[in-house]
């Protein structure tokens, strides 16, 4: 089936893109297009105007800048997967990237596009929340930042206003004493998460100074679990502590049973994956080597 007809716009600067978004009647942004193109061709979405931002070269960067890691709107999943910077210090990003879709999808799909899509089973939202990240939204009235925690409202619905464009994601630079991990349960290669957990741990000597936990696929949006993070902060890391955090995360999750697993099963997997992600995050915070070289195996159903 073909997409409905639309007018195609190719801005080359953020300013032009924002201007188009503001002036056109029913515009849709196209970046990686790996979700948008199929929804358009099945006519689940029939925008009059498509604004393709792939030519906006100023949005193609993945870098540390001062105390922030910045990921521009044209950074593909594969760019994150291949980035030495990510592999060195951002374990949860390094874990999540290669588990998204398949190689062809990762070559095209963008991190920011995935966040803007706000699929409750999307991976990057949880990673962003666990890192206490934010998105930068540009509109005609200028720029504002939205904390990841406040971004996701409903499935496929964010706090973005009409005419706004996410130009970048930001997370605080990961220090030597910080580690993070992402554990994802899926049925097979290429699937969305049935359940996934992002965990981040920052150590201060023997104790945890700060932590972040966020869940994928077990609520109507990506879900931060501040109760679990609070429980970890100030405590001495141990298997028992991570088990307790897992219990709290499971209690805070609201999974729905479906053909792939019951709600009770998914809740139990939140508990298990939270422990695993915390164990990896802690290990990575303690060691100096690249994040990618530590960590337990990812789970696939049937393992």
């Amino acid at each position: 089936m073909k997409a409905a007809q639309f007018a195609y716009h190719e801005p080359s600067t953020v300013e032009e893109a924002v201007d188009l978004l503001e002036t056109l009647d029913d515009p849709t942004l196209l970046a990686g297009g790996q979700s948008l193109v199929p929804t358009m061709r099945f006519r689940l979405s029939q925008p009059d105007d498509v604004v393709d931002i792939n030519g906006v070269e100023e949005l193609d960067y993945l870098e540390e800048d001062g105390d922030q890691l910045r990921i521009g709107a044209l950074v593909r999943h594969a760019d994150v997967e291949d980035s030495p910077l990510i592999d060195e210090s951002y374990g949860s990003f390094a874990d999540a990237a290669p588990l998204i879709g398949d190689p062809q999808i990762r070559n095209q799909g963008t991190v920011v596009g995935s966040v803007a899509q706000a699929d409750p089973k999307g991976d990057w939202g949880s990673v962003l929340i666990a890192h206490e990240g934010e998105v930068v939204a540009r509109g005609l009235d200028g720029e504002r930042t939205i904390a990841a925690e406040d971004l996701f409202l409903f499935p496929y619905e964010t706090d973005l206003r009409p005419g706004e464009l996410i130009t970048e994601l930001r997370v605080p630079v990961s220090g030597d004493d910080e580690g993070s991990a992402y554990h994802k349960l899926k049925r097979k290669v290429g699937d969305y998460a049935m359940v996934a957990v992002a965990a981040r741990v920052e150590l201060d000597g023997e104790t945890i100074a700060d932590a972040g936990i966020a869940l994928t696929g077990v609520d109507i949006t990506n879900l931060g679990v501040p109760d679990a993070a609070d429980h970890l902060a100030g405590a001495v890391p141990s298997g028992d502590l991570f088990r307790e955090a897992g219990e709290i995360a499971a209690e805070n999750s609201n999974p729905e049973g479906d053909e792939h697993g019951s709600a009770a099963y998914k809740e139990n997997m939140v508990r298990v994956l939270t422990q695993r992600a915390l164990a990896d995050a802690f290990e990575r915070a303690r060691e100096d080597g690249p994040a990618g070289s530590y960590g337990t195996e990812q789970l696939t159903v049937g393992d």
């Binding site: 498509v50 062809q104 999808i105």
Partner: protein, 220 residues
Amino acid sequence: MTEKTIAVTVNGTARELTVEPRKLLVHAIREDLNLTGTHIGCDTGNCGACTVYKDGQAVKSCLQFAVQADGSDVTTVEGMEELPEAGMGESDLHPIQEGFKQMHGLQCGFCTPGMIMAGKALLEDNDDPTDEEVRENISGNLCRCTGYQNIVKSIQYASDVYNDREPPTSPVEHEDASVETAADGGEYASGGGEPATDGGCDCTGKPGLSIDYPTGGDDR
């Protein structure tokens, strides 16, 4: 609706196409350029049969509009024999194509063009992949016949050719496949010397399957 003229280099030849913005890249390749080796399997981005090699990467040509390929360099399965690596093995084929042929990497042949293009992208980055790396790399390509074992071997065959190693011997009989009498007194169809393991399309993207003929316009 306004059409747009795009310039794309396809298999080394500069082409100009005038397309509606809503036309998918795979439709432009198959219908406007008549290059029907690139297949449409699922229409949803799952199966990978439409994989092409675009600007140094494997992409699914059913997941982007043709207008997005403006200025790009695209290689399809039909272009594989024109690449510098073609002929490195024992035939004029690209080593990956030769691998599929020698290692029995295809049965119905439907997924083969996509598998070959995914293999091309992998070997471009890493010409000596492990079994696991090959499997990861073709994880976006579905095959319903082979069980993947021989597809992995086919890509590794090409890797052997790239690295001047002796590739494994083909498990397929290629020589002297003359007409044989079957048990029921009939004849096996064996034609001119090669078993028809691949729907007659011998990994090159030339028409063999019914899908390999253009549908004749925009009436889908």
